[in-house]
Symmetry: C2
Subunit: 152 residues, 2 copies
């Protein structure tokens, strides 16, 4: 999760919502991502999607059944759905997302009637992850970062 | 939807589950996708993701708020989540997906407590879309196509 936090700080340095993600297999990081939605001008560029994309490229297949995913913010429906599609069996996340979270924050996708149900552990370095996000939104409120509101 | 069906047939010709998708703005197609998960060896390569990616590139932004999406199969959670993230307000789909559908087939993501709720119309050329998928799975059962089962 410390590696994911470092990636979140990279996103922050680009003026992005600070979220970072790594995918780990046998103790080795095989995929990294940071949120780049604004600078990349693309709705798909969440940290988890970038990390899954890299992990699939590195492993040469779409199944990541022997991997774990670490992400600083609870995955949204798109990213939780990508985890489902890639069959990643373990999700570790930091801060809870009450606005978009699909691992219990708004809904729990994995309590629905899908055949695949990963294990979920939230709150890993949760305060540090939440504090990084909170600091970012404080800067927006203080207008020290020029950023379109998420729901405009 | 006829354009989306043509893209689904392209996927079929590559031995993929035949799903196709287009994104339309002002009567013009600005994004196209076909399912390429197997040949692309990547869990993210659903038709909708490819179409949203192309549409974001073509428009130079992550918001597709003035677009509609047409897809031959009901979107899965990842793709429904991507539609949510891209703020696409209208979803037209063909065949129902009782295994992975996130627009009513397994769950309806848009009945959850998210601020954005697109309109959904299912069953557009539904028989033709379902028949194309059914024919593909018949070929697998008859072992005329070598294809890993979806849930192995």
């Amino acid at each position: 999760m410390k590696e994911a936090l470092a990636l979140a700080r990279e996103a922050l340095s680009l003026g992005e919502v600070p979220v970072g993600c790594v995918i780990v297999r046998d103790g080795e990081i095989i995929g990294k991502g940071r949120n780049l939605r604004e600078s990349g001008k693309n709705a798909l560029l969440h940290a988890e999607i970038a990390a899954i994309d890299e992990a699939c490229r590195n492993t040469g297949g779409w199944r990541l059944g022997d991997c774990s995913i670490y992400v600083t913010l609870e995955p949204c429906p798109m990213c939780a759905g990508a985890i489902l599609n890639a069959r990643i069996p373990k999700i570790y996340f930091g801060a809870r997302d009450r606005r978009l979270g699909a691992c219990g924050g708004v809904l729990n996708l994995f309590e629905e009637n899908f055949r695949f149900k990963p294990a979920i552990v939230g709150g890993i370095l949760g305060e540090e992850c939440a504090s990084l996000l909170g600091g970012f939104f404080d800067l927006i409120r203080e207008k020290k970062i020029d950023y379109a509101t998420l729901w405009e």
